[in-house]
């Protein structure tokens, strides 16, 4: 790593574009060389001559010849990504940063709380947990979305529901006539989860406001601050702790994170912004 030029992307071909929701698409990419990442680490995807943006892969870290990112259309680069059809060549840099601490989840009841497109990084974690399910007590996955149309990864949800030790709960802010699950913000699910908190570790990923209220709720439930893991979203650019855009107090989110224990970051300024 020391000798490599980490500013230089490797090339990857977009094999498939999957429409996950009206605002979210997944991009399956085949990198020119095998690509290894740990769940929760992020990559930079380069659109040649256009721009670069950070994403945490949503595919399984155990697969090294392909990887997938799930992208909400929010800005300049993501809008251009949403125009892609497949067959394009993009650049990939990384992986960068510190991911989810898998070893800290072993022998635990893992409570995974996701909001919106925050499901993307969590899916790579869930793939790992599925592969390691003998080493964990159980997985409770709570997922909240705006409305049924914005609920992503429907086939995946239906599959993991059936896995032994996995429980899935979903809620939407605004239901329609087809919706049969919970209604309300993600934290309503936390009122219903059945976990032994002393044996549990929580992982939360979603929009800042959702993470803020989820952490508040988890604390009320009795989770210690050092048993709550968050994946922070900042303006990561270089990925190397140099460019300064993702500074969150004393931390470079790209290098020291993006996954943090809540107690590590709670005193830093504006963590929910």
């Amino acid at each position: 790593m020391k000798g490599d030029n980490l500013y230089k992307p490797i090339k990857a071909k977009v094999l498939e574009v999957i429409e996950e929701s009206p605002t979210i698409k997944s991009f399956v990419m085949k990198p020119e060389t095998k690509f290894y990442f740990k769940t929760g680490q992020f990559i930079e995807v380069t659109l040649d001559g256009i721009g670069e943006a950070p994403f945490t892969p949503s595919s399984s870290p155990l697969v090294t010849d392909q990887l997938e990112v799930t992208v909400m259309k929010t800005g300049y680069v993501t809008e251009r990504m949403h125009q892609m059809q497949g067959g394009e060549t993009v650049g990939i840099r990384g992986p960068f940063g510190r991911g989810y601490p898998l070893e800290k989840l072993y022998d635990k009841e893992v409570l995974v709380v996701g909001g919106g497109c925050g499901f993307a990084p969590l899916r790579s974690l869930l793939y790992n947990l599925e592969a390691d399910k003998d080493k964990i007590k159980k997985v409770t996955f709570c997922y909240g979305s705006k409305n049924p149309k914005e609920c992503i990864y429907e086939p995946y949800i239906q599959r993991i529901k059936k896995i032994n030790k996995f429980e899935v709960m979903r809620t939407v802010d605004e239901a329609d006539e087809t919706w049969t699950e919970e209604v309300g913000v993600a934290t309503v699910l936390l009122d219903k989860v059945d976990v032994n908190i002393d044996e549990s570790v929580a992982v939360v990923v979603g929009p800042p406001i959702m993470m803020k209220f989820s952490v508040q709720k988890l604390k009320e439930m009795g989770y210690p601050e050092n048993k709550i893991y968050l994946s922070m979203e900042k303006n990561m650019s270089c990925g190397l702790g140099k460019c300064g855009h993702c500074m969150m107090g004393e931390y470079f989110v790209c290098k020291d994170g993006p996954v943090f224990r809540y107690d590590e970051i709670k005193d830093q300024p504006d963590i929910w912004k």
Partner: protein, 334 residues
């Protein structure tokens, strides 16, 4: 054997003229009332300014140019000799090295630019209005990160060797002109000059809080002082871009999967804004405070080296007349 060498100014200029064949030589030249690094040629050799305090630009611009391709790395035709570097800028290199030559990743262009430069430090024989290096533990004469120190007294140039690169350069100078070993009296003259400037700096800045206190002062401050001192800030970013230790950058895309690193500043609106809309630095006083937090609170948590050298450029560059020293005095005397 002493590591000092001396020669007449005339002989030094003759040697520089010869060395220009093998090196690009940069030295401070007059810019109106100010002075800045310029690449010298035959005509400007005699106009080089010696032992003046800091040039307008910080040394970092040689290692981290405003704009540089970091993927398709340009080859250099000649190495650089950089003259007239003040001690504050040389000490500012510590944190740049810590950031850009860290154990996990050696930044290729920074490393190349650093390796290809021979650094001639310069004793400051006078001070500028806002010089306050000694407040942060830096002497007004180079002690680290350079190859030679140069002091000019009257028409004699004294060169003190600090590294193998410096030793090598001395050998090259000797090819063009003989060098003498200065007498003890002459060396004492250099040391006396250093001491008098240091005393003057200490006297002038005796009220300013030292580097280790600045962080606590900031941590115990409320929002009000930042709002007050940022009233005339126009987010131009001059304080950051002119700072010898501020190096935040943008990566611009160049077709062919190349990337161009461009100097950036946390003072610009939108610096930390994410695509979804969140922006921790959405207010002027927060951006203004951010730079202080970075230099005096956060960087000290992460790095061994100091992130402010007391050069005073941020004060001189500010079109809103904002003075960090006045801010710190107000915090201290609160």
């Amino acid at each position: 054997m002493s590591n000092y060498h001396s020669l007449s100014k005339q002989s030094w200029e003759k040697a520089l003229s010869q060395m220009m064949k093998n090196y690009h030589i940069y030295a401070p030249l007059a810019w109106g009332e100010s002075q800045d690094y310029e690449r010298i040629d035959e005509d400007s050799i005699s106009e080089i300014i010696y032992n003046h305090p800091k040039p307008a630009s910080p040394l970092k611009t040689f290692f981290l140019p405003v704009k540089e391709n970091v993927v398709n790395i340009e080859k250099s035709d000649k190495k650089k000799i950089i003259m007239g570097i003040p001690s504050c800028d040389l000490s500012g290199t510590n944190i740049l090295d810590e950031m850009y030559l860290d154990n996990a990743f050696t930044d290729p262009t920074y490393n190349k630019n650093r390796e290809e430069s021979i650094l001639i430090g310069s004793d400051c024989h006078s001070l500028q209005e806002h010089c306050h290096c000694t407040t942060y533990g830096i002497k007004p004469y180079p002690e680290e990160n350079h190859d030679l120190t140069l002091s000019r007294i009257n028409d004699t140039i004294y060169l003190q060797v600090h590294s193998n690169k410096g030793e090598q350069l001395i050998r090259e100078v000797k090819e063009f002109t003989p060098l003498t070993e200065p007498t003890e009296n002459e060396i004492q003259g250099i040391l006396d000059k250093r001491k008098s400037v240091e005393e003057e700096l200490n006297k002038r800045n005796s009220d300013l809080p030292n580097y280790s206190d600045t962080g606590d002062l900031i941590n115990s401050s409320g929002d009000e002082i930042w709002k007050k001192h940022s009233e005339t800030c126009v987010s131009c970013g001059a304080c950051a871009t002119i700072c010898p230790t501020c190096t935040c950058f943008l990566l611009l895309e160049k077709p062919g999967f190349e990337k161009v690193r461009h100097l950036d500043a946390c003072q610009y609106p939108g610096f930390e804004k994410v695509a979804a809309g969140e922006d921790p630095l959405n207010e002027l006083y927060k951006r203004f405070r951010n730079r202080y937090m970075c230099k005096y609170v956060w960087k000290p948590e992460k790095f061994e080296s100091i992130a402010c050298t007391g050069c005073g450029r941020c004060i001189e560059a500010c079109i809103g007349n904002i003075s960090k020293n006045e801010l710190f005095l107000e915090l201290k005397n609160k």
